[in-house]
Amino acid sequence: MTDAKNTSTIVFDRATKIYPGSDAPALDGLSIEVRAGELVCLVGPSGGGKTTALQLVNRLVDLTSGDIRIGDRSITDIPAIELRRTIGYAIQQSGLFPHMTVIDNIGIVPSVLGWEKTRVRDRAHELLELVGLTPVPEWADRYPSQLSGGQQQRVGIARALAADPPVMLMDEPFGALDPITRTTVQDEFLHVQRTVGKTTLFVTHDIDEAIKMGDRIAILKPGGLLAQFDTPEKLLTEPADDFVAEFLGQERGLKRLSLYTLSDLDDLASADATTGRAPWPALPADTTVRNALSLAAAHGAEGVRVLGEDGSPIAAAPLSRLVHLQSEESV
């Protein structure tokens, strides 16, 4: 494992792409800066240019005008193939090579770069542990056909990280997974990201996934224009225009609530301050506020109680607090 985090910024500088044969740009003058170590989600409806934006970075598609820089260097400074070897790339169907074992799949870019065999193998082992496919010997020599969809995606992520690239591109990587597996793999990846901290551009059409995963989110609208680029909180509370508001949907209020947990609510009343006929459900402190609201509704309760570390209720949060988040005094 590298000690210093090897990670760079990605800067889009009026990046534009017009495909031959069409008048309208697929991406129109995108200018955003992804900070080092940040996970930025690109979302939007189809035709918004999010996949195009991603593919411009590793030059699977070439810029019509504008520039993209990784670190200080423009992506056009070095040949495309060399550039791609310095960028981690994970795609929806994982694209694992069916004829290679898990270990060989993970080690493909390092071996192409000429790393020595033992170094490649050690690195692959390290990554299998990172993505949670342990004990390593059980997984190393399997073929992709012997893995489930979720396991394949994890190998795909390990493969993208293998050569320790400064940036990562992920193109709807969890889109083909069933919802339960998707949640697990998302959590796994967030854990990886906390450990490894790579600058990541993550394309998804699922706004909930973007809110869950992204440090910041860039919403692209049809015509390849940037609608808004902000943190999830800002996006949900201050949508820039009608398009964003509509894209976030009427549930954006609730979506915002999923950004917080019960432990984020301070100055709560004591656990016995309950009202109404139905008993208030007792939930762990890491339950999201949204889920707390949902469970309250399910029980017909006027609030929820918060469980302490010892498992006994220590506080009570009425519906008004669940909705407002901040206590009346601090407003």
Partner: protein
């Protein structure tokens, strides 16, 4: 000058007794077959193997190259397909007749014809194998920074192997079969005893040679199948 030398006094060899089996032209006279093995059947078998192997090796070299070119330049697929299919549909004897005036009664004539028959099977085997590589695999490979050559040789070729082996197997069995017709051009291969045994029908000879041809086809097919499995371990992997 007289055209007739004084008649010599030849020593006429005794060619031995004939078994009843041979006289009655029974279905298969094992003794006769075993006795004739070293001088007739074994050399014929070796020649047959040689003719087949040469044809497959040359045919594969041509078809493989053509398939790679057609893979790069898609528009060539149709013309190549048409030519190789046309060659395949020619009746073997007719092709031999066309070639003999040009290349003579020689191994070259035989090989040109045999190679012509293998091309469409091998071409399709290689090309369809390459085309069957999943798009997401190719996209991932490109996106990760493998050059086109690397994608071709490290990813596409190995994945095309099952189809290539399949084409080789069919082409080999076909070649073993058609090579028996080579006896019309060259007195070699397992077709020679068959041809000679037809005019004055002698069952053991053509059944023996025919059976050897079938066994040879099975053997070569089996060898290729095993080779294919050794080269494609991932196809055996089970959940």
């Amino acid at each position: 000058m007289s055209g007739f030398a004084p008649s010599g006094d030849p020593i006429i060899p005794d060619y031995g007794e004939v078994s009843d089996c041979v006289t009655n032209n029974d279905f298969f006279c094992t003794d006769w077959f075993v006795q004739q093995w070293p001088s007739v059947f074994w050399p014929a078998l070796l020649d047959h193997i040689l003719m087949t192997v040469i044809a497959i090796v040359v045919g594969f070299a041509i078809a493989f190259t053509a398939a790679l070119v057609a893979h790069r330049r898609k528009w060539l697929t149709a013309p190549f397909s048409m030519v190789t299919t046309f060659l395949y549909t020619l009746p073997p004897l007719a092709l031999f007749q066309l070639l003999v005036p040009i290349t003579g009664l020689s191994l070259l004539t035989v090989e040109i014809a045999l190679v012509a028959f293998t091309l469409v099977l091998l071409f399709r085997g290689v090309l369809s194998g390459l085309l069957a590589v999943p798009d997401d695999v190719k996209r991932a490979a490109r996106g990760m920074g493998l050059s086109s050559q690397q994608v071709l040789w490290r990813v596409e070729m190995p994945l095309a192997m099952p189809s290539i082996i399949s084409g080789l197997r069919i082409a080999t069995v076909l070649t073993v079969s058609i090579a028996t017709i080579a006896a019309f051009v060259v007195d070699a291969g397992l077709g020679a005893p068959i041809l000679k045994a037809i005019s004055s029908p002698f069952n053991t000879q053509f059944i023996g040679a025919g059976a050897l041809a079938v066994l040879l086809a099975f053997l070569l097919d089996g060898i290729l199948a095993l080779t294919g499995r050794a080269l494609t371990p991932w196809t055996k992997a089970s959940r």
